[in-house]
């Protein structure tokens, strides 16, 4: 589904990603962990197409096509979704209107007609229930005055509505209490299928107790320095990152 080959990217002359290789297949959950400043969020933004970052070299192949030159919306139309660490506030545009616009823009890109209003409402209702979101929330302005937890829940609600092939969850656990974390993780798990895939970017192993990864990768200084199974995440939780550094020096 996704193949990242020897990816280099940076910002304003500063190289941040220094040769990333990663392969994600349908049905898989990958976790990317690493200390602050290792390039985790940059990797997520570069995959999603944020223009601020300079793509230096390498390939991002998604569903067999190199998407590294595409606009963010074109990547979304192909089935890529990024759940933001810091979702943006859009006053005056309700959650419902925003998601309707997003869905219909995606359909338009595929040459499909707008989703019929009845179908849309039914889907909104169903996905809102999945994430334990009440109706009042849906008529509020997007992210405006939302608590950290509400913002993250809203991100996963959008994920549920858009049903992408590949979802990248960037620090979705930050700012969540344990109950909200369970709701969000439960939502993600219910949306998982053999045809889609998830990349979970996280600092802590906490979220990985609920969204069980098939693979865990450690990102340090712009490179994936170690890959393993979920046991690796537990080891990192217990021992921190220093032992990996030491291992690398050897």
């Amino acid at each position: 589904m996704l193949q990242i080959k020897n990816l280099y990217a940076g910002i304003e002359e500063k190289e941040i990603l220094k040769g990333i290789d990663l392969e994600v297949n349908p049905g898989e959950v990958h976790a990317i962990m690493g200390p602050n400043g290792s390039g985790k969020s940059t990797l997520a933004s570069v995959i999603a197409g944020k223009e601020e970052f300079e793509f230096l070299k390498g390939n991002i192949i998604f569903e067999g096509e190199d998407i590294s030159e595409l606009d963010p919306e074109e990547r979304a139309h192909k089935g890529l979704f990024l759940s933001f660490q810091y979702p943006v506030e859009i006053p005056g545009v309700s959650v419902t209107n925003f998601i309707k616009t997003a869905i219909n823009e995606n359909r338009k890109a595929k040459g499909e007609k707008d989703m019929p209003a009845g179908e849309m409402l039914k889907k909104i209702k169903e996905k809102a229930e999945l994430l334990e979101i009440d109706r009042k929330f849906l008529s509020r302005s997007l992210n405006e005055g939302f608590s950290g937890g509400e913002k993250k829940r809203n991100e996963i609600f959008q994920l549920a509505m858009l049903e992408p092939k590949l979802a990248i969850l960037d620090e979705t656990d930050s700012g969540l209490d344990i109950d909200a974390l369970k709701v969000v993780a439960n939502g993600v798990n219910k949306l998982k299928s053999k045809d889609n895939a998830v990349i979970v970017i996280t600092h802590y192993q906490r979220l990985l107790d609920y969204i069980i990864p098939d693979f865990v990768h450690v990102l340090m200084d712009g490179k994936i320095v170690k890959s393993g199974t979920k046991e690796l995440a537990k080891e990192l939780e217990a021992k921190g990152y220093d032992w990996i550094k030491e291992e690398l020096v050897k």
């Binding site: 979304a76 933001f84 943006v88 823009e105 959008q158």
Partner: protein
């Protein structure tokens, strides 16, 4: 002959036609003298530094347009708030049009300034209020000298007017170039409420220059909501001078929506004369091409325990230009004041520009005043967020511009008007969004 000379020399003939016992006869004579002395404002004056009238003054305006053309309702229906019942004062080329209007004398007066100036029963009100709050500057004086027609609205005390009042000035393009000078007087009695919508609309591509003056008097605890819709043709220019005089505990709000016209200058002046007054000055400006919109505001705080809020948003595309010159003047007795002023702008294109100058002059020592202005582009992080959801660049920009201007709309209290402005904004931004904004 320059426009100034033409106006001054026409004045005598104009005045001759009016009745000598008019209560404003002397006011007119004084006013034309002020205009003759001062002439049209130039860029040398601080208040006109960024707005030049030179190009506009070159046209040979007809200053006494004849109303020869009638207009059909279906031609102009779209300019009214037709989905709700309203009082209407409609002027075509400066002349009252009874067919399109809907006036009343039933416990309130929504009628013509021309009758108020001529009929004895209005004399007391005219003498008490007319030209009493207007500043005697050259353009207002020019209007006063030729003041003849416009809206006369008098709401007696304790009267809540449920229907909004629409004042619409059409120009038909009968003349190659036309100067219109409507004059409105609004007197809102103690504890009375009123909502007024004003617009100027040219129906042709001929040059129109409107020099409009409105005086609003809000007595104790009166509530006044005044909406200005400025979405005129690209050959029409407007200089609007509005003066709001507030007594104790009155609430006055003026919203200015500037989307159209060639050049628009808004001189909006508030005078808070009694305690615990509340003033709101809100504006949304969305312009493009070579359009120019200048907001020149003044809130003059005289009495203590008052509030004022100014919130102006501007979106400037192409090589359009904007000015915000907002002044808050606090006299020494105006203690415990809370004054807020904000002007935020987005420049969509490199050639667009805005001159923003918030000013505070404070002579009281126990006040809270804040002001700020921002000038920027659309937030890149927000653009990325929307695009990453599959929303194309154009729609994403539209959504963000809408979000930027939105909070100003929240204080529009007439739902139909709000929907209308929403639609105008969506049109202006140039997209049809998948939902009603």
């Amino acid at each position: 002959m320059s426009l100034k000379d033409k106006l001054v020399s026409s004045y005598i003939a104009f005045e001759d036609h009016l009745e000598d016992d008019s209560p404003i006869h002397d006011l007119r004579n004084d006013a034309i003298k002020v205009f003759e002395e001062q002439g049209f404002p130039s860029k040398k004056e601080e208040a006109w530094k960024y707005t030049s009238l030179n190009a506009l003054l070159k046209h040979d305006y007809n200053i006494f347009p004849k109303n020869e053309r009638t207009i059909e309702l279906k031609e102009v229906r779209k300019y009214f708030l037709h989905d709700i019942d309203t009082y209407k004062l409609v002027f075509v080329d400066g002349v009252y049009n009874s067919f399109l209007s809907d006036t009343t004398h039933d416990s309130i007066d929504v009628c013509l300034l021309s009758s108020a100036l001529n009929k004895a029963k209005y004399k007391a009100v005219i003498e008490a209020y007319f030209n009493k709050t207007a500043v005697k500057d050259s353009l207002t004086s020019l209007n006063t000298a030729f003041a003849k027609e416009g809206a006369y609205i008098h709401i007696p005390k304790h009267k809540e007017v449920e229907k909004p009042i629409e004042i619409i000035n059409f120009s038909t393009g009968n003349e190659a170039a036309m100067l219109l000078q409507p004059r409105n007087l609004v007197v809102v009695g103690e504890n009375a409420h009123v909502q007024i919508i004003e617009r100027h609309q040219s129906l042709s591509k001929n040059q129109v220059l409107t020099n409009s003056v409105t005086e609003i008097f809000a007595e104790k605890r009166a509530y006044v909501d005044y909406y200005k819709i400025q979405n005129d043709a690209r050959t029409a220019s407007l200089i609007d001078s509005t003066y709001v005089s507030q007594e104790q505990e009155s609430h006055c709000r003026v919203h200015t929506f500037s989307f159209g016209g060639k050049l628009v200058r808004n001189n909006l002046n508030f005078y808070q004369k009694g305690e615990r007054c509340d003033s709101t000055l809100n504006g949304i400006t969305i312009i493009e091409g070579k359009q120019h919109v200048d907001h020149n505001t003044l809130v003059h705080h005289i009495a203590p325990n008052c509030e004022s809020h100014q919130d102006y948003k501007g979106i400037f595309a192409d090589s359009s230009t904007g000015v915000f010159n907002g002044k808050v003047y606090v006299e020494k007795d105006a203690q415990k004041l809370d004054a807020f002023q904000q002007n935020n702008n987005i420049l969509v294109d490199d050639k667009a520009s805005i001159n923003s100058k918030p000013q505070l002059e404070i002579f009281a020592d126990d006040v809270r005043c804040s002001h700020g202005c921002t000038i920027g582009q659309l937030d890149e992080d927000a653009m990325f967020y929307l695009q990453s959801r599959g929303i194309g660049k154009k729609e994403a920009r539209a959504l963000l511009m809408y979000a930027f201007a939105n909070n100003v709309l929240e204080s529009v209290k007439i739902p139909e008007l709000k929907a209308r402005i929403n639609k105008l904004i969506a049109n202006k931004i140039g997209v049809s969004l998948g939902f009603e904004l």
